[in-house]
Assembly symmetry: C2
Homo-oligomer: 399 residues x 2
C-alpha cells in the first residue's frame, strides 16, 4: 500500500512502476518511474542517496540502467517499492514526485536494432486469406520458426509523436504510380526491450529470456499497405514500414508482469530443440485499440503462437549478438474474432467492410487527422491490474 495520495485503485500502483524518461522545462531528460499520475524523479532520488543504480538514472535514456542486469533491476525495484510504501520515506521522497501533466515524456530508450516478428497465427492467417485467396493461408515455414525481419531503428518514436502520411510507389492497373499512401494502417503489437547484451557468435537460449529482457512496451507498427504490397517481393517490407514505428513512453519491467505469464497455445508440429521453452509461456495482456476515441478492437496477446522467449532464442540462434536497447516486437496481435484483430486491414477485411462509428462516420484505412491509441492491461498480484503505457499517434497530411 503506497502513501502516495490518489493511487489506490490505479493500474499504475506499486505493483506496476514502469520506467520512462521525462523532462521539465529547461531541464535535461532523466529517468523516472510512474506511480499513479505522478513521476518519481529517480535521478533526484539517486542524488539524494535514496536509491542506488550506478548513476544510470541521470541519463536521457534507460540504456545504462538496462545494461546493469537483472539483479540490479530487481534491487532497484524493491527499493523503489520501499520508498513509495514506507511512510518513513515520505518526507524525502514526496518532493521528488512530479505530476505527469507537468513533464514531457521522451523515447524511453535508445533503440539499437529493431526486429519485428509475425507471430500471431490468426493475423498471419487473415493476411494470407486477404492477399492469397484460395491458397493455404499460412506459408510452409510459419509453424516451424517465428518469421521476422529487421525494421528501421532510427524511426522508432515515442507515443504522441505525429505521423506524417508517407508517400511512395503503389501498383495500379496502369502500372506503378507515385503518391501519398491511400491504405495507411496500424499494427497493434507488444515489444520486448533487451537490457543485457550477448556476444557475437553465441546464442541465447529461451531459458535465459529473463536475464536479457528488461521489459515490455506497446508498439504501433504503422504500415502503408499499398506501398508494402508493391515493394515487398522478394526482400520483405521496407518503405511501407520504415516511416514511423511508435512505442509507449513507459517500459513495464518484466517483474511487474510476473502474474501475467500463462501457458501459450500448444504448438503442432513440435518445434526444433532450440525453440523449446519449458514452461511454454505467453503473456495475458489485453490490448485495446481506439480509433478517434472509439474502441474498435481488443486483441488478446495470450493467443500468440510464438512466445517472446522463443523469439529471442530464434533471433540469436545464428550467433547474432544482442545489444542493450534492442527492441523486438511480437508482430500484429490478432485473436480469432473480428473484434480482436490488431490491424485495420483485418478489421475491414482488406478495406471491403468499412468500420462504422457511433456518429455515423465510416473508415477503411486512416485519414488525415485520425488518432489511434493502443492501451493494454495485465493481471497483477492480489487481483490488481497492471496497465501498460499507452501508445498513440495522429496522422498528419503527406508533405
Amino acid at each position: 500500500m503506497t502513501w502516495v495520495a490518489g493511487v489506490e485503485g490505479s493500474a499504475y500502483g506499486v505493483t506496476n512502476l514502469p520506467y520512462g524518461v521525462f523532462s521539465r522545462d529547461g531541464e535535461e531528460p532523466r529517468v523516472g518511474v510512474r506511480i499513479g499520475d505522478l513521476v518519481l524523479d529517480l535521478a533526484g532520488a539517486e542524488e539524494a542517496g535514496l536509491v542506488l543504480a550506478a548513476g544510470a538514472f541521470r541519463a536521457p535514456a534507460l540504456n545504462r540502467f538496462m545494461a546493469l542486469g537483472r539483479p540490479q533491476w530487481t534491487a532497484a525495484r524493491q527499493r523503489i517499492v520501499e520508498l513509495l510504501t514506507d511512510p518513513a520515506h515520505r518526507p524525502a521522497v514526496e518532493p521528488l514526485l512530479v505530476p505527469l501533466d507537468a513533464v514531457r515524456l521522451h523515447l524511453p530508450f535508445e533503440v539499437a536494432d529493431y526486429v519485428d516478428f509475425y507471430s500471431s497465427e490468426h493475423h498471419a492467417g487473415n493476411v494470407g486469406q486477404i492477399f492469397r485467396p484460395g491458397q493455404p493461408p499460412l506459408l510452409p515455414n510459419w509453424k516451424h520458426l517465428p518469421i521476422g525481419y529487421h525494421g528501421r531503428a532510427g524511426t522508432v518514436v515515442v507515443s504522441g509523436t505525429p505521423v506524417v502520411r508517407p508517400s511512395g510507389q503503389r501498383a495500379s492497373s496502369a502500372g506503378p504510380v507515385y503518391g501519398a499512401s491511400v491504405r495507411l494502417d496500424i499494427e497493434a503489437e507488444v515489444g520486448f526491450v533487451v537490457g543485457v547484451p550477448s556476444p557475437l557468435g553465441s546464442r541465447v537460449s529461451a531459458d535465459d529470456f529473463a536475464d536479457h529482457v528488461f521489459g515490455v512496451v506497446l508498439v504501433n507498427d504503422w504500415s502503408a499497405r499499398d506501398i508494402q504490397a508493391w515493394e515487398y517481393q522478394p526482400l520483405g517490407p521496407f518503405l511501407g514500414k520504415s516511416f514511423a514505428t511508435s512505442v509507449s513512453a513507459w517500459v513495464t519491467p518484466l517483474d511487474a508482469l510476473a502474474d501475467a505469464f500463462v501457458p501459450a497455445p500448444e504448438q503442432d508440429p513440435p518445434v526444433a530443440d532450440y525453440l523449446r521453452d519449458v514452461p511454454h509461456l505467453g503473456l495475458d495482456l489485453r490490448l485495446s485499440v481506439e480509433w478517434n476515441g472509439e474502441r474498435v478492437t481488443e486483441p488478446p496477446f495470450d493467443t500468440m503462437y510464438w512466445t517472446p522467449a522463443q523469439q529471442l532464442a530464434h533471433l540469436t540462434v545464428n550467433g547474432a549478438s544482442l545489444r542493450t536497447g534492442d527492441l523486438y516486437a511480437s508482430g500484429t496481435v490478432s485473436g480469432p474474432e473480428r473484434g480482436q484483430v490488431g490491424s485495420f486491414l483485418e478489421l475491414t477485411w482488406g478495406g471491403a467492410e468499412p468500420v462504422k462509428f457511433a456518429d455515423g462516420a465510416t473508415r477503411t484505412f486512416l485519414e488525415d487527422g485520425d488518432a489511434v491509441t493502443i492501451t493494454a492491461t495485465a493481471p497483477g498480484p492480489d487481483g490488481t491490474t497492471v496497465a501498460l503505457g499507452e501508445v498513440s499517434g495522429t496522422i498528419l497530411p503527406a508533405r
Copy 2:
C-alpha cells in the same frame, strides 16, 4: 606530391586519404587517415593545432567528424593534403605517422541503421534464374524502384573479424532440419556511409547525395543461402544474413572518388520523378574477390542499375529520417560475365559448377577455415589509382 617516404605509386597516395579508427597498445581508439602504409594520427594532429575538426578526431568512431558536414569534410581534407605535401610541415607531422602494422584497426563508425539494396540487374537476374527457373528472372517491381531491406546494424563488423558459421533451419525433403549452414556464401558490395542526418517526415533528393553521404566502404554481406531460402517468405532475409556483415576498416571520402563518377546504365522504363538523378552517375569501381588467396571474380560496380543517389532518394521518400552512421549497401555487385559476379551462388551457379583452384581444390560454398578478401580500385586524378580499403574474413566452425 607527398614528402612521406615510400608512398609514390601507392594507391593510398594523397589523392586517396581514407579515414579510419586505430589504436596502439594501451591507447584509446582515435581517428586517423591512411597514407601509404602509414596512419596519420589525426587526434594528435588536432591537439598539436595542425588541423581543426571541433575535437571530432579524438573519438572511437568517425561519427562526430561525419556529422560536421561537407564544408568541414572538404576543409579537413585540404588541410591534411597540405600537411602531407608541404615539406614545411614535415617536422611537426612526421612524428604523428604510425606504421599500419603497429596499430589495430577498429570498426570505423558506429552503425546507426543498415540497409541493403539489390541494385545489380545481373545479380537479380542470376538469382531469379537459379531460384525461379523458367520464370521471368526479374520481378515486376525491380525496374521501378531500388529494392532494399533493413539488415542488422549490431552485427556489422570490421574487416578481419572472424565469422562463425551460423546455424539455423533449412528445408530438406523430410521437412526442415536444424544445423550448421551448408551453403555459406559472400556478397561483394559497396556501402555508402551517411554523415549528415535528415529530419523525420522529410525526404532527401538525389541531388543532395553529396551533402549527406560522407564516403564509401567495401562490404561483404555474408549469406547463409540454405537458412535464407527457408525463412525468407514472406518478410525477407533475416537470420540468413544477420550473423555478420563485414566492412572495410577504411572509409574512402567521396572527395577521393571525384574522378570515378561515370554515366550509369540507361534506365528503361523511365523512373519516377523522385528517382531521377541528373546527371545519372554511377561509380567506376573495380572489385576483386580472392578466395583463399586466389582471385575468383572481378565485379564491375559501374554496371549497377540503380545509383547510390537514387538509393538515397528512395530510402527517404516515405519521410524516413537519416542518422549519422547510417550505412546503405549496394547489393551484390555482378557484371554480365561469370567472372564478374559478386556471390559464390552465382559463381558456382547454385552449387552446380564448382570453382577449381590452382592446387586442384574445388569449392561450391565456403568451408571452415576459408578466407575471403574483397578489394577495389577507382580511377583517381592524373592517372593515379585510388584503392578502397579491403574487407576480409575467415570462416570459423559452427559452435
